[in-house]
Symmetry: C2
Subunit: 516 residues, 2 copies
């Protein structure tokens, strides 16, 4: 690394460093546009393999079928559509589910209240949203604890300030200090008022989905919501092959109101699906075919995303494992299946099993994020902040992962090949044995040339050591504090905010607290 | 994650867990076969882009040329081959370098003294070798310090015991307590006696390359070495466009003796190459064309690897940065260029800039390792243990990275599509709402189904917490100790070992110590 040391030395004299550093450490609420890929996807399955999986999935639907639980209306809809109903079991003749799926749009726009932050979901795009669902939060000072509404609001603020995050997400953590039957109101309020990025609705009861639609009506205008998609919500399938009434009830509300759903098997391979990649992909395909077909029975043309939350299991301890090669295989394969089905695809995330924002967390997360980009994912939930198998939302890991999402943006750009990028004049100017730091081409291009972390340590060892020899989690802890200290609420029509507050107050008063 | 918790609970009763755990924590010197990819490469450059870069590279060679420094014999060789010589500048007419490269083999075998550990370099294969070159070592107890021969031997032992490492490498760290002019002898001795995996020769002086050939002659038999390749050594190009006499002298010795060289630009983009991906790829291509052509002027058919050590620079501090998207673009692009040239390709590694084996180190490393696999790299030097921009070899990071190399093996396997993998009987057996942990297919397949870390923590939070709430570096520290405590030297013919010792002793006596 003699060369690297020399490079560092040479650049000292180039001037303007302090000004540039100040410029870059300033806190910004700039948000990058969603990723538009200019690089290919990695396609690991060949045509024959894809056809086998698709054929087997249709076979599963026809022969084994799926259960729609506690949902007589769903059974009626399926019967009318031509499926065979036996108790709660729905057997779907070959070809029917795929045909029903054909009315779902291949791309859709999710509108944000700040129109410059609306996102296009599908095609070659990738939209990034934060962690979803953890009952616990963790930071390096207070450790692991049950999440509260104050934590929730802080995560929404961090998401709003993250340059590489396009979406505010949904249940960034579970605010366990608020009654279960009321917390969706406070969560929606936080997304709607503390951020201006797109967000997700509640799915824990059909009535809470309806509250989400009603509050969105206040925020965007009631007519607007019927015409435009302003929420994308997460409908998990209870794998294997089971669609419960709570999730389906929420799906029904969203589809009826033209709002988007991610229809997503939740699979730890070996437990909720066969202990093989091909078998898991078959089950994923069968489940999403049935689920998406059902969404189109509710309202043909309702926007949906084909989801696949898939990971492997440690067959010794039963623990789910993350960032593993088998999870990557499934994520790549499901992406190919989604593209053949012509639907937006949700998968991958900042997955890890680690209890700390340490090296394990980062290896597992980086494996999963890279895989998600190359698998053609269109909507990546959990793209930052996930820890301990999804039980914990980590403050430090949130900003660490969010910083890494910048690498996906730059990777996806591909390689510029114009005359300036070819840099033949620079090669002529410098010649053998010279260096490029001061040449005209470098001066003209260095600012935009290379992605740079806003978090990682790039200082010489001696400086780093004198400044406390801190690790990444420590830098991240400082960044979390700095962001939250400088957070400023985005502007909002006070009348709308008051109307939202009144809706929440009225709803909360209308029912007793419930914590179950 | 209610499902995950349930999965963990369900598996408790399955029995045999303790036995399986004991089996897996046993220390093993099993080494996996080098990776044979069954997944495609990611090709980010289209045909037009590749042709522009190739054309520009030929233009650079003809118009700007390269310098062969302090090497009159090289200038004579180039003149005889048809190049234009002006002082030390060699201008190579279009087409000449490419034509000379055509005699280099597209794949070659590097033989190990244990024949089951010989490696095939090229084609769809990936051979993994450890970190190379750091003057410092680091561990979590003693911190950062100058490397010694004892450290060197410990790294060779760890490499020998790493299941996913196919190659013992070369200068795993610089043994700074041994005179500069003698340390190559001790390093070779360590690789030859403490491991039975393939290794690299010395390149710091032509005479030391000759010592490497002579010692390999003792180990393998003098005739064998002339017929078979038993060393692959690292020849760095002094970018931009400069070939110094020390490296070229070593290359000449190896090529003359049928030993392999990696001919590798060493580039921090923005300093030693233009601040653009296309410009850097052009320079890489020009440099390797000239270097490999030169190897074939020495001995047509000499085995070589097209190398590309490329990374980006932080234009603020001048520090090299790692795991960045621009480095990935260059690595993907150079892989495509190598395949079009029909040569084995060396790039990527466990690159990071971090001073600790922390999250920054792991994100950057995982980015680079994944990229290396998908870029079609055939020989990955630095695949484990690299820290702080290559200034430091980290003991903990060595075993952390080496564990992650397992994910590359499993990823590369691709997806099995046979009847067993399709798992239709498992789907039939379990049906909607069931679980797969106990089903016949799972019982028959779980052992081989999923990659599992030998290092990461998969325990429930409570257990992990009771056991000390340790981070990855702490687990790795324990693993390093356990491996070194249980290390056993591979068997060796005592006569050969004595002959090697005698050679080293005689060489050391023949010259005074030098520390410069």
């Amino acid at each position: 690394m003699a060369e690297a040391t020399a490079a560092r030395r040479r650049s000292r004299g180039s001037g303007g460093g302090a000004a540039r550093r100040a410029e870059r450490t300033a806190i910004s609420t700039e948000t990058a546009k969603y990723i538009e890929r200019n690089i290919p996807n990695l396609e690991i399955l060949n045509e024959e393999a894809l056809e086998i999986i698709e054929t087997n999935a249709e076979q599963v639907l026809e022969e084994i079928g799926v259960n729609f639980v506690n949902n007589p209306a769903a059974l009626d809809r399926w019967r009318d559509a031509g499926a065979d109903i036996d108790g709660e079991r729905v057997r779907i003749p070959k070809g029917l589910a795929r045909q029903l799926c054909s009315t779902a749009p291949s791309t859709f726009t999710q509108h944000a209240r700040n129109p410059s932050r609306s996102v296009e979901i599908g095609g070659r795009n990738l939209v990034l949203a934060p962690v979803y669902g953890p009952p616990f939060v963790h930071d390096m000072e207070k450790g692991r604890r049950y999440a509260t509404m104050a934590d929730f609001e802080n995560f929404v603020k961090l998401g709003y300030m993250s340059k590489w995050l396009h979406h505010s997400g949904g249940t960034v953590c579970e605010p366990t200090d608020i009654p279960v039957n009321k917390r969706h109101l406070d969560m929606l309020m936080a997304h709607m008022t503390l951020s201006d990025k797109p967000f997700m609705g509640s799915v824990t009861e059909p009535s809470r989905a309806q509250d989400s639609v009603d509050m969105a009506g206040i925020l965007f205008g009631k007519d607007v919501v019927q015409q435009k998609t302003v929420m994308t919500s997460l409908i998990n399938i209870n794998s294997p092959l089971t669609f419960d009434d709570v999730m389906m009830g929420a799906l029904e509300v969203y589809a009826q109101n033209n709002q988007a759903s991610i229809i997503s098997p939740f699979i730890v391979g070996g437990a909720m699906a066969p202990v093989s990649v091909a078998g898991t992909l078959t089950q994923v395909m069968a489940e999403v075919l049935a689920g998406i077909a059902y969404s189109q029975l509710i309202r043909p043309g309702a926007p949906v995303i084909m989801g696949a939350f898939v990971t492997s299991i440690d067959m010794n301890s039963g623990a789910p494992t993350f960032g593993t090669p088998e999870a990557a295989h499934i994520t790549y394969g499901a992406g190919q299946l989604a593209r053949r089905l012509g639907l937006p695809y949700r998968s991958a995330g900042s997955f890890c099993g680690s209890k700390l924002p340490d090296a394990q967390a980062a290896y597992e997360t980086a494996n999963s994020l890279n895989m998600g980009l190359l698998a053609g994912v269109n909507f990546m939930l959990h793209s930052c902040g996930w820890m301990e198998g999804g039980l914990v939302a980590s403050f430090e890991k949130f900003v660490m992962d969010a910083d890494q999402l910048g690498t996906l943006h730059h990777l996806a750009k591909g390689v510029a090949m114009d005359e300036n990028a070819q840099a033949m004049d620079a090669l002529r100017e410098v010649g053998p044995g010279g260096h490029f730091l001061g040449c005209a081409h470098t001066q003209a291009n260095f600012k935009e040339a290379f992605w740079r972390s806003d978090l990682f340590d790039y200082k010489p060892y001696e400086t780093w050591s004198e400044e406390g020899a801190r690790d990444t989690a420590s830098f991240a802890n400082a960044r979390v504090k700095r962001l939250l200290e400088t957070y400023q609420k985005p502007a909002m029509d006070p009348g709308i905010e008051e109307a939202l507050q009144a809706y929440v107050a009225q709803k909360k008063e209308s029912m007793p607290d419930s914590f179950t």
